[in-house]
Amino acid sequence: MADHTVTVGTQPVQVPTGSLLVEAAHRAGVDIQQPCGGQGRCGRCAVLVTEGTVRRRSTLRLSADDIAAGYALACQSVVEGDVSITVLPQEKIERRLKTDLTAAEVKVPAGYDPQAVQTVRRVALTLAPPNMDDQRDDWSRLLTALRAEGIEAARASLAQLRQLGRTLREGDWQVTAVLDTEAWDCPDCPARLIDLKPDHVAADAPLWGVAVDIGTTTVTLWLVNLLTGEVRAQVAEYNRQIERGEDVISRIIYATKNSRNGDHGQLRDLVLETINGLLETACKRVLAQPTDVMKATISGNSTMMHLLLDIPAESIRLSPFVTAVNDVPTLTGREVGLNIHPDATVDCLPGVASYVGADITAGVLSSGLEDVEAVTLFIDIGTNGETVLGNNEWLITCACSAGPAFEGSGVINGMRATSGAIEEVWINSDTYEPTYRVIFSDKPVGICGSGLIALMAEMLLTGVIDKGGNINLTLPTPRVRTGEHGPEYVVAWGSETAHGRDIAITRVDIDNLIRAKAAIYAGFTVLAERMGIPLETAEQVLVGGSFGKYINVEKAVEIGLLPDMPWEHFHFLGNTSVRGAYLGLLDKQARAQIRAIASRMTYIELSADNTFYEAFTSALFLPHTDLSRFPSVQPAVTT
């Protein structure tokens, strides 16, 4: 058989026709990593063909652009002539796959004009000092100056009035006032004074606001300069309420029991601690004080909103499942207990029903779902698994209790998508050895949601687990074993991890993840059935969730979390709830839109829907009991 010259970097070697590029590279002394075992499954062995051509047996992992640029998978490329290749340094190989969907960047809404749409205004005022000829009171003097700024009427609190005279004189009649000019629940009320400080501040000094999403599992806070619309800090942390129950139901039960014992507001305190902690972290990053924050817009599910405000949530849990309030009036930082400016505006966004809260109305706004003609499926992969199906004409929604697994909670080695989290995993089909990618670190600490999805998919495809999630303990690898929590698969040995302990996924974790994905999948199949349309009618699928920056949609389909549709139909939006809160924080029209969305959505109560249980149990399988729903996964999991 004819030999060909393959030049690997600068090293030429002779190989017979039909050799694979990996073999040629090996002969040249370069071992290319093949995490999936040389099956063309992971795309990690991409090399650049600089001269000549190779026959690409599979290009599944390469985009058209990649191929045009000369990329080839070394494990799938056959040498049929002389060729030169460049093996990229490891960090370059760690490039993203085309199935890795990136969360959309946060962009300031086009044409953001705070004068027109921002309700909070900061004005530098110069007041005429009083004298014997002008004995008007201080407050009238301030109002006159405000009128010159176009603010016709204003009101102040008693505390502010007590401070007023001193502040005016301290600044020698030069002061900076911050006012909320328009409350959504009282558009014609006079502007409300938030803050008055002596002296003028620079016109371009930031005016701070925060957008907050209170998730059942994760709380996210964005610190925003209201003058420019820029997000200057994004922080997130587990909701400290988790220690009092993982899901909304157990939280409500806990809160009810506690208040019966006379211990009110314990859950409120925990979530306030969480938010105030985040506030402090975010403010430190921009050298601001929490009390510099003049407005907070808060999103979250209905239970989280009730617990934050310490409004009894018991009725949410009990039939007929009603909230105390969906439209919370405008409040202040002091009333709510946030460590922002005591008189800052706190705006809690409106929800639809007990189990479809502001997080979803805000999410719908930020996803743009209500503006599109195409039927769109919007899934928030969070603890409550809210799903919306619809377009600009109709919106139907439901929520199903998925649990916190995809946020890395309720999984023994789970964690949030932060530094040290394993966010992507491949398993070699021959050796069962994993390769993983860690966020901002060499040493893993745990596994985050996207890592868990990838891990489940890889374990399924390589036979480490069966379709029921049972770990095959007979595999010839020490990575499958019976540990303290039953059967498990070791992803990282203690020698590789930041804490020196093995990172493993257990049978119990797998069960939790299967239940979570089944609840979410069942939710949208029920919605589609309710509308009498096949799920495939949806022309695009918008995915929200706290996955960090990336989610691998292919792997989410492989485990049956997302429906089997072409990859390009999916768009990953990241945390849509906090995005919606951000839009509502900036723009009073967006705030009004969220309210309109809430009134437009039709809510399906799954606990009163007898098709849900059937849909759920049939989804309690990998990828699904009815494999014909997952045609693209079928070949990979058929033995």
């Binding site: 379709k467 029921g468 095959n472 399988f621």
Partner: protein
């Protein structure tokens, strides 16, 4: 005016499963039992005659059970002391096949050994020429250990080994695969769960014609309606073409009926309950006959009188329209 009875025709067919192997097939049975093959709902004889009748299996133990009703122990008498004698007796009262249900411990309380399980199985095979199903004690580790030994010692007999469950099926299926046996797959009264276990077992390479599904049932008054409806839905799905439900069904009404208070308790019960023995047998019979009507292919019974009655019921249900 003659009434035209509408006839349904279905896309799917239930698979057939054959238990037992004759000497020509590598076993020692005098006859084999084939179940399944239906193309329509049970006993719709005017649409299609089912190729195989439902059959009755009799449950025996390798040693005299301590937790069975005295009514059962009395009727089996000394035969219950010895698996070979019990097997013979069961064959004599009309069993189509036998279920040997192994006990977790021996008479002294020590764990049943693989050797003892094999010896009991061989004794039963030697005493009776009927096809045999062997159930483990129902505890995962013991099941795996005992059934593996039994499977190897009886290679080629085409036993059915049970009970596979979703959390413990791998070893039993591997043993069946390696030694040419079948398996029974039990799931807790749910169509999806039944399908899932069938898929898992089939994924290991065991052909579908070697799997019996056991959708679990409850006795009369103890959830039989739910079990009945799950079996009916499984059969409807099979006829509609869902491949992973097209398996014959085995259920254990004997086990279920004899746990009920109505069967177990003979004293201090309302007089209106009537004669204890009659009531207990009625309980087993009524449970079993309902399950036969819902599509059971194999019913596992305990009392000889129930066996006789169920045979009679099946005879009457399977009369072809021409003969009626």
């Amino acid at each position: 005016m003659p009434v035209e009875i509408p006839k349904d025709s279905w896309e799917g067919t239930v698979r057939t499963v054959t238990l037992g192997a004759t000497s020509a097939e590598g076993g020692t049975r005098s006859r084999t039992i084939t179940v399944g093959g239906q193309k329509t709902l049970p006993f719709m004889n005017f649409e299609q005659t089912a190729p195989n009748r439902p059959v009755v299996a009799v449950e025996i133990k390798e040693r005299r059970p301590t937790d069975w009703s005295p009514l059962l122990l009395d009727v089996w008498g000394d035969a219950a002391n010895d698996p070979a004698a019990w097997a013979k007796q069961a064959e004599a009262v009309g069993a189509d096949l036998l279920v040997l249900a192994l006990t977790l411990t021996d008479a002294d309380g020590a764990p049943t050994t693989p050797q003892a399980a094999v010896a009991a199985t061989k004794a039963v095979l030697g005493a009776s020429a009927l096809p045999l199903i062997v159930f483990g004690p129902g505890q995962a580790e013991a099941d795996n250990e005992l059934l593996l030994a039994v499977a190897e010692a009886t290679k080629g007999e085409r036993l059915a080994l049970g009970i596979c469950e979703d959390k413990n099926y791998r070893t039993i299926v591997a043993a069946a695969l390696a030694n040419d046996h079948c398996v029974t797959a039990r799931t807790p009264m749910d169509v999806n769960l039944a399908k899932q276990l069938n898929i898992l077992i089939h994924d290991m390479g065991l052909p579908l014609d070697r799997i019996l599904m056991d959708p679990t049932t409850g006795a009369l008054g103890y959830g039989i309606e739910y079990g009945y409806s799950v079996m009916e839905r499984l059969r409807l799905a099979a006829l509609q073409g869902d491949a992973m439900t097209q398996l014959p069904m085995l259920v254990t009404p004997g086990f279920e009926a004899w746990k009920t208070k109505e069967s177990k308790v003979g004293q201090d019960v309302p007089e209106a309950w009537g004669d204890w023995a009659e009531r207990a047998i009625n309980w087993e019979t009524l449970t079993a006959v309902a399950l036969v009507e819902s599509g059971a292919d194999i019913v596992v019974l305990r009392h000889p009188e129930s066996v006789r009655r169920i045979h009679k019921a099946i005879d009457e249900l399977t009369i072809s329209p021409e003969m009626a």
